[in-house]
Structure formats: structure tokens, C-alpha cells
Symmetry: C2
Subunit: 336 residues, 2 copies
Amino acid sequence: MNEPVNNQIRLAARPVGLPKSSDWSLTQEPVRKPGAGEVVVKTHYISVDPAMRGWMNDMDSYLPKLALGDVMRALTVGEVIESHNDDLAVGDYVAGVGGVQDYAVVQGQELMKIDLGLAPLQAYLNTLGIAGLTAYCGLVKLGEPKAGQTVLVSGAAGSVGAHVGQIAKIKGCRVIGIAGGKRKCDFIVDELGFDGAIDYKSGNLFESIPQLCPDGVDIFFDNVGGDILNAALVNINHSARVVLCGGIANYNATSPNPGPAAYGMLIIRSARMEGYIYLDYQDEWPAMIKEMAAWMADGKLECPDDIVQGGVSVFPDTLLRLFSGDNFGKLMIKVT
Amino acid sequence: MNEPVNNQIRLAARPVGLPKSSDWSLTQEPVRKPGAGEVVVKTHYISVDPAMRGWMNDMDSYLPKLALGDVMRALTVGEVIESHNDDLAVGDYVAGVGGVQDYAVVQGQELMKIDLGLAPLQAYLNTLGIAGLTAYCGLVKLGEPKAGQTVLVSGAAGSVGAHVGQIAKIKGCRVIGIAGGKRKCDFIVDELGFDGAIDYKSGNLFESIPQLCPDGVDIFFDNVGGDILNAALVNINHSARVVLCGGIANYNATSPNPGPAAYGMLIIRSARMEGYIYLDYQDEWPAMIKEMAAWMADGKLECPDDIVQGGVSVFPDTLLRLFSGDNFGKLMIKVT
């Protein structure tokens, strides 16, 4: 019996503000024996997402909070190496909430089988996974884009924002992205085909948004919150949709940030601000994945993979890169 | 030729903070001769509404801003005394944007003919006018109430809030109102049939809302904004609807109030916050009026008239009563 060792990252402390390495511990244990209906998945890639910061807080959100000592929650893709489930066979590739660990033992029905004929494995954490699906659900289901409308996206060079902008272009919209720094702004215009970019680190958003959106904003897709949300609200059109995907500006706050002072624009403009999580649309994922895979094949939808080598132990430093703004594309950790 | 004199209240200055009497002037002029399609309406009642404060600012909203010297905008009901319009006859009663003046000369198609068989004239500024229609549009069209759901209403003893609570009861909801002071709280429970009341002037909303809404809030109908909006957001359920009708807490602010710090609950709960104006639903008013008139006749929907005598000259003091919180029911001025 040569039991494989399961390296795991566990929550060791509730972070105050920006997390630090000591908020997690690296542990080892043997892989648990799967029970009825369960499979053992060998992790290949771990998705590293801003939402992870919220899961560490002492508050339930759309998912229950983690307890101290729990394996850090994470989306993963991997390979089934042992199966007690009729629907999954050894050798199948699957996506699910595997956690930051080398092996996950999971009920088969909580996993989605992956079709490697459509795209390579890591695409199921990027365009065909959390990044693309989050963009698709928010933009299409909540934003309801119509040809000719103006879409403004914050966090535009991030993995969700990049997809939002490209899908909005496919839908015939004019797309302006907000990102930090010249490199990211050039990237979204030159590589992704956005119609314009605003560098929030230089200049005044209250001036640049109306300059680049002279017909106003019909859809604001927000990944950031804070001053960016407020400046966008000032420029919304009648019947605008403000899609709240995230608020990375607030995730590490140690005291409550002020909310958007301009929220009253929603009244003046008969507009809507709505939050969501892509898990709400799970029934529609297969159709969305199929549609986005076709756009990938046509060269209309792309997002670089930002893959960090080194296995689960690099998780703490990798997560922090999201909050320093220095990552580029979809951040993930390669385990195998 | 004994021309009637038109007493008018005109905007004399842009208010800073709470308006003062000198922000308006009382003027007289002869009634203008009506042109093609126009009618002369003798004002009977003038509606006094919080939204008037916003119309005085130097900013267009859902309606263009008033210019200095303009007759103060107001909804009115009155009687046609001269007609150059084929659809309206002398003696007809009409509702429209007549302004704070004794006589209005208006294009006939901008007026709604009133059926005094359904309800008395002043009801068309109350249940069958701005108050009831605002409540109906916001609660039913945006709030989408379902039997058994919990509806929380701020400004619950105000003319809009009173209607919201009663319509929500008709729809089978559990209704909690937030109002200021024991008299208003007793009124909404004892007279209007709300299931409970929270006095925002005593106690802590962050404690009282979850106490009175133990199953969370499915619809929050907000007339107030500020801390009340924030405390309500903390308690919303999954898929909740936050209906933004107004924000009286902010109308007289001289610097921007902080927005709702808890807006991120919209993400966590996949919830929606949406503004509107009842003018958006003008095509549906006749059906809504008919339905609400039937509820009035059945004794299910009522709101006291708070009628101030004295004609247009009492307008400034009357408007200020809305912001001191001492009015009760639908505030209006009797002109004739």
C-alpha cells in the first residue's frame, strides 16, 4: 500500500485586511478513501480568484464561510483516478470545487465532466470555466446587451473583464474598459479589440468616462467598486444596467468603505444595479460553454492563461498577486 | 373684460440645503390666452411632494431642471374653464402638471381626464394619482411581490409608503413599515393593517429589522435612503428586490452623503436594486387606477388627505412640512 500524500492548504486564521502567509497552513495527510458515489480527483490546475478573499471571512455569503482548519476552497480541474460513481470513470477529466490540495474526494454529481475536444484542460478555469461563465452570465443575463449600446467594464484586463468586453463586442456593442496602467490598457484595445481604455491610475474618472462614453453608459459591468463604481453611476443612461460582479476595492478593507454616493442616479435614470453569482445559472452552463467554445475556435474570444508553477504551496503568494494588480490573464496554479 | 388674476409661485433662487421662503417669489399676471389644442385649467388642488426639492436643483433629472423664474412645477387637479381642444370640454376635470398657480394653460393631450364617479377629485393626487400610482408601479412592476414574502417599507406613514404596505397586504405579503415616532407606527399597524412597525427614531435598525423580519427581507421599498437603506440591505434575502422610490434623507444634503456601504449584499444575495419614476408606466395608469379604485371601494386601500387651505401662497411653508416629518397622509394645497 503506497498511499499518495495529499498536500493541502488550510485556513489557519481569519485575515485582517490583506491576507498574509500565516493565515494558511500547509498540511499533509493520506488521501481519504472514497465513499458511495464519490470519486478521487487528482488536481491538475487550481483557479486563483478574488472571491477567495471573501470566503475567508467570518460570514456566510452565497457559499457558507470556511471554518478555521478547513481546506481552502478553490475551483479546480483534474483527472479521476478512482471512482465509486457510475457516471464517472477513471481517466475522465472533471471541473469542480476541489480545494487547494493535490487530491480531492468529491461526490460525482458535484463535478462537471470536461470535453477536451472543445478546449485544453486549463480553459475550463478560464474561458469555459469561472472567468468566461461569470462574464457571460453577468453580461448577457443581467446586462441584456443590445447592438449599438455602450458597455463600460472595470477590471477590464482581468480574466472576467477581458471576456465581458469581447462578448459585448460580439453582441455589437461599443466597449470601453477601465484598467490600471498603460500595459493593461494597451492590451485590451490592441489584443482584445476594446474600443477604448481608461487608465484609472492616471487622470480623473469623472472626466474620462464621459469623454470616452459620449452617449452615456448603457451597461456598467463592475469588478471593482469604490470610486470607479461611483464615477460610472454618474454617467448611466435611462434604463441602464449596472452589473455587480465583484468589488475587489473592498475585499481587504478593515473598516466598511463608503458605498456609492451616486446611487441616486438609479432613481433619476430608472436604472438597475444587480448582483449575481455564476452558480445561479448552472443549468445553462453547457449551452454557454458550447457557444463560447465556438467563439474561441473563431478567434473572437481569448484570454491568456497566467499559470504559476509549484503546486499548492505557492497558493498564498499567488493569491496576493491578484490584489497587487500585477497578474495578467486568468491566474491559476499548476499542480501536476 | 374682467381678466382673472393668476397668482403664481416662481423659483427665485436655487436652495442650498433646506429651502427657505425666499427661494420662491409670489407673482401675479393675467391668465394667458390658450393657443391651438390648449385648455385653461382652474386649479383646485396642488400636490406637495418630496420630489419637488430635486426639481429645484441645477441639474436635469427624469424631468428637465426648472429655470430661475419658472413657475414652480407641481401636479394638480382642476377644472377646464376654457378649451381649444376637441377632447376636453369646459367643465371637465383633469389631472396634470399644472404648477403652483391658480390657472394653468396646457396642451390638452398632456392632461388626464378624471372620472369623479370613481372617487372624489383629490383622490387623483392621492390613491388614484402620484401617491397610489408611484406605490403600485414600484411595488408591483419592480418588486414583483409574491404571497408569503416579506416586504419592508421605509417612509411607511408617508403617502407612497402607506399605499405600498396596503397593496403588499392585498398581494398576500407580510409587511413591516419603518416610520418616525409612535403616532406614525401605531397608525400603519392599527389603521392600515401593517404586520409590524419600526420606529427609526428609537433603537437600532440593525437590531430591529432582523427582529421584525426573522425570515429576511424579500422586497425593500425605499423612500428614505441613508442609514435606513444600509440597514435594510444587510437583511435582504437571495433574489431580493430593493425598489428605490426616493431618498428624502439626501434631498437637502449640502455635500454628498455616503452611499449604502452594504451595497455588496446585492452580490452576495444575487439581488437587485432598481430605481424608477411612475411616469415610465403612463400607458398602464388607466388599468392601475381602475384596480386601485376597486380596492378603495372595498375598504382595502386608503390614505388620509392632508389638505392645507390658503391657496398658492402657503406653498413654501407646506413643502417644508414634508422635510420636518410632521405631515400625515397625502399633502396637498386647496386653491379654490
